[in-house]
């Protein structure tokens, strides 16, 4: 089986993404840009209420609007709507405007039901029930050792309550697809998805046709972050409308419903007691936590996080309320656990008078393979941020009302691959090379990564490889979640390209009567016993009429799992306004063998920027009286603009030992500890803990007011 080359020509260098120019210039067609001949536009009617029953629904007025072609009900009379944004109906029309007119013309009579829209409403005594088993569902306590006895022996104990809010994915391209029935049993769907195969399976299942009859195409897509694994109710509704009308139908959510219904990261609140010995060594943790995933479960998160806590008890409750359901979001659970853990660590270090960096080094799990990696990464990060300039909390330097603070956080993630995926490598007699797999590029550069691997093996340039993905009819590929795409797809790509190369050697050898064992490929040439024999294209012509087509899968030794990383933040906080400006983030990350330094760094930048938004800006705001989502936009749901992005220094921990581990995914880990590091930096700057994220002027000034 193939191995990663010892002295690669392309792998681990900086290769621009092959589809970068098309994306940057606007030429590339996203699924929402695809307009097949005769296409209709569809729009959704969704619940204007936090909680209601549909008494009556009348579509006749909408049907009479000229240009309205079909209406599909997703909720029937008698159905209960559980949050604002819950599906009711989809309308297909000649134009988007007519579709929206049609939506407004549907007459629905609602019986409004009592709601709980905030966690405090949901947790109140006698609150209306969202879940028949109660709004607060307690999980089994996780107990390790004897925390009650142990915490009594600690030299210092802190007790804090920390919280992070619900945030949403805010995919730039909203959820949706364009769907066409090619016959009464075959479908083509242009879907904005991170899972082309899953969309085919769901659409096939919904219409009782084989999934292989559904071709899902995702050449590129505008962000998913964990929220786009499914065809979704609206995708199936679009296919229903397409079936009814006999025309292709395009249905993409509007921004408001995208916020309300297309997923979110659950909130997390933790009441944490953390104790340590004088030297900073942790002794025990006792934590009660809760969070909400709206009408769904899924607000769990890891705690304790990263550090070795000898004795701990953690009780967690999922809180149900009338809000859209949570979906996986970039490193599910980890940013929440990281914020809470790292805040408590810093507060305890402060109480003990120990440097928080030293405190972290002291509490890495002994004997864990990641511990020396963390130690090295922390050293690199501390150097890059200038940790030596950090002053103890409350003694921060600054000018006028501005205080400068430093903070840090550690994170961990898996990032291993699946072992059941395949890639085809096709070498054509004209010298062209194509890779095929039913995976897709969620933005990590999957297409580029596969092309690099094949180009490396075949002695070609990256742009000579046609890397064909985003098509469910190709050999089974990985869904893009859990940072698994690259580690799942790189081994089959390497194996397919290597086997295709060997097949080329055999067939050319037969044609020109040479021993394949002496053949190699380099610089676009076929070499025999190290001597240039012919160009790659000439060699391919020896194939005659018959291309080479090899489909290969996983093999051992090419990938691994389990990464660490740390981030450091430098912030400036204005004590008189509570405004936080992040000056610099240092992100140190390991992820085994890095295939393309450019796309890898781009993942880390993106992760850090997502983490910065979580730290400073993002928050779903629910109205207690009406139960409505007050900021389902991109204006009062705040997100960083270019001028809010600080200097970001990305440090790849890419030693020979790391390379030897093989490929590991990097999509999620770099977004985990940013908000924790920024939160700690703010506390360091202003001298008090800001216990609630995001670090808004309101939350910062409230924390300052608590002490004065």
């Amino acid at each position: 089986m193939a191995e990663w080359p010892q002295n690669p020509r392309l792998i681990s260098t900086e290769i621009p993404r092959v589809d970068g120019l098309g994306k940057a210039s606007g030429r590339t067609k996203y699924p929402s840009d695809v307009h097949p001949e005769g296409m209709l536009f569809a729009a959704m009617l969704y619940s204007p209420h936090a909680h209601a029953r549909i008494k009556k629904i009348d579509t006749s007025r909408a049907e009479r609007i000229p240009g309205v072609r079909a209406i599909h009900l997703l909720a029937q009379e008698g159905a209960t709507l559980r949050y604002q944004g819950d599906d009711i109906a989809a309308v297909a029309a000649d134009t988007e405007e007519i579709a929206r007119d049609g939506v407004r013309a549907i007459e629905v009579e609602y019986e409004v039901l009592p709601h709980v829209a905030t966690e405090s409403q949901a947790m109140a005594e006698g609150a209306p029930r969202v879940n028949p088993r109660g709004n607060v569902q307690k999980g089994r306590a996780q107990i390790n050792g004897d925390p009650d006895a142990a915490i009594e022996t600690a030299d210092a104990v802190i007790e804090g309550e920390y919280s992070v809010p619900v945030i949403t994915h805010v995919c730039l391209e909203t959820h949706g697809l364009t769907v066409r029935w090619d016959s009464d049993r075959t479908i083509t769907a242009w879907s904005s998805t991170q899972n082309v195969m899953g969309v085919s399976q769901e659409l096939g299942g919904a219409f009782n046709i084989p999934p292989t009859n559904v071709t899902t195409l995702t050449e590129v897509m505008g962000g998913g972050f964990g929220s786009k694994f499914s065809a979704d109710s609206w995708g199936i509704a679009a296919a229903e409308l397409a079936k009814k009308t006999g025309k292709p139908v395009r249905l993409f959510l509007d921004r408001a419903q995208e916020h309300m219904a297309a997923g979110n990261r659950p909130s997390a609140t933790g009441k944490i007691r953390l104790g340590a010995a004088k030297d900073g060594k942790l002794v025990a943790m006792i934590a009660q936590t809760h969070g909400t995933g709206g009408v769904a479960r899924g607000a769990g998160f890891p705690l304790p996080y990263v550090y070795a806590v000898p004795h701990s008890r953690r009780e967690h409750s999922d809180v149900f309320l009338n809000g859209g359901n949570a979906r996986a979001m970039r490193a599910p659970g980890h940013p929440e656990g990281c914020c809470l853990m790292e805040a408590a660590m810093d507060d305890l270090a402060e109480k003990l008078g120990v440097d928080p960096l030293e405190m972290r080094l002291k509490n890495l799990p002994e004997g864990d393979f990641k511990t020396p990696i963390y130690e090295a990464e922390i050293r690199l990060g501390a150097e890059a941020i200038g940790w030596s300039k950090r002053k103890p909390r409350g003694q921060a330097e600054g000018r006028g009302p501005i205080r400068i603070g430093y903070g840090m956080g550690l994170h961990t993630w898996g990032g291993g691959g699946a072992q059941d995926k395949q890639v085809s490598c096709i070498i054509n007699p004209d010298g062209s090379v194509e890779l095929r797999s039913a995976t897709q590029d969620i933005g990590t550069g999957a297409r580029t990564i596969l092309a690099i691997i094949a180009a490396e093996v075949l002695g070609l340039e990256v742009d000579q490889i046609h890397s064909n993905i985003g098509n469910s009819s190709f050999p089974p590929g990985q869904a893009s979640g859990g940072s698994t795409t690259t580690p799942s797809m790189a081994p089959p790509a390497l194996n397919a390209a290597t086997q295709a190369r060997d097949e080329l050697f055999r067939r050319v050898g037969r044609a020109i009567n040479e021993d394949p064992a002496g053949m190699s490929l380099a610089g676009g040439k076929l070499l025999i016993n190290g001597k240039e024999a012919m160009s790659f294209a000439e060699a391919c012509r020896k194939l005659g009429m018959m291309p080479i087509s090899v489909t290969a899968g996983f093999s051992e030794g090419l990938t691994s799992s389990g990464v660490g990383g740390c981030q450091f933040a430098e912030v400036e906080v204005d004590l008189e306004t509570g405004v936080v400006r992040v000056k610099k983030i240092v992100a140190v990350q390991d992820s085994g063998l890095i295939l393309d330094m450019l796309t890898w760094r781009s993942q880390v930048y993106g992760g850090v920027i997502g983490g910065l938004n979580y730290a400073l800006f993002e928050e779903r705001v629910m109205d207690p009286t009406t139960g409505l989502f007050l900021n389902p936009d991109m204006e009062l749901y705040k997100l960083a603009g270019a001028s809010d992005i600080p200097e970001i220094e990305v440090i790849a921990y890419h030693t020979p030992e790391m390379r030897a581990r093989g490929v590991i995914g990097v999509g999620e880990p770099p977004t985990i500890s940013t908000a924790a590091a920024i939160g700690n930096a703010v506390s360091n700057a202003i001298g008090v803990r800001v216990p609630r994220w995001p670090m808004t002027p309101m939350n910062v000034l409230n924390a300052l007011a608590q002490v004065s």
Partner: protein, 347 residues
Amino acid sequence: MRAFEYASPTSIADAVKALGGSGSSAALAGGTDLISRMKDDIVRPARVVYVKGIPELSGIRVEGSVVTLGAATRLVDLVQHAALAELAPAVRQAALEVGSPQIRNMATLGGNLCQRPCDWYFRNGFGLLGGRKQGRNLVRELEGEYAPIDVEETAHLVRDGDNRYAAIFMTDGDALYAHSSSLAPPLIALGATATLVGPDGERTVPVAELYRIPQSAGESELTLRPGELLTQVRFTAGPRNATYEVRQKQSHDWPLVLCSVALTMDGDRVSKASVVLGSVAPIPYRAEAAERAITGHVVSTETAEAAGQAAVEGAKPLSMNGYKVTLTRTAVKRALLAAVGQRYWEG
């Protein structure tokens, strides 16, 4: 968005005629506020009258110390005008911090003065008074979309709800939104007047009188009469002036609190002060106590601080927005210091 008639007049007279016709109408300039309200179904004008094609509505004229600004002058033009930067830095600074470059390239002075409040209850269809009630039923002003929900008769969406961005002054009534025009405070501080042309002719009012606190459901906070068009704003330069905006983001964001000041000096001392706050009350809010506090004094960190403290006396914040009292104190202090070219820290 609903269908509407569209007019594109090239003279003020034709614009007024179009605005005053039967049915509701709205003047469209940059569209950065109006179009999103129409998309969200918060307003449904039967007729939209595009006014940027009227030549005399745009432009900045400086004659001696008198500055005349056409209502359809784009914000970017206010930012880039050299003489205006000299005479009215308070106006330039306020314009500079509105929206994003794309918005400033489209949005106009008149549009900013007449934009509707950036308040999430208003933008969700609940009006400006915390929700209209029929008995115990709350009504959402989006046609065909909302069944009344049962609430307490004393319920007030802003008072009972998420009021982090709401008013901290004049909060005894029902109008608790924060007025969000960035250009009103500097122009009011400079004593600017606005010219309005309508079916009954032309009238000139102080910019401050463009606004009122709505008392009944559906009543606007703008005093423009039906069919009236804001054509220009005029002020006499002279006072030292500045604007300080507290905003969370550096990119596109709304002010949390904005303060504009205009100071007439007698030597080093302030002989007359005008201190106007934005985003703290349902109308641009004149901080008279701060004006009194600074008058007669040299502006220093101490006197500016005292004026900031005076400004917030009488503030009645709501359940969540007490932090805006601190922001107000700070904004007043910093605007005063900026007006005399002082900063109390470097860098």
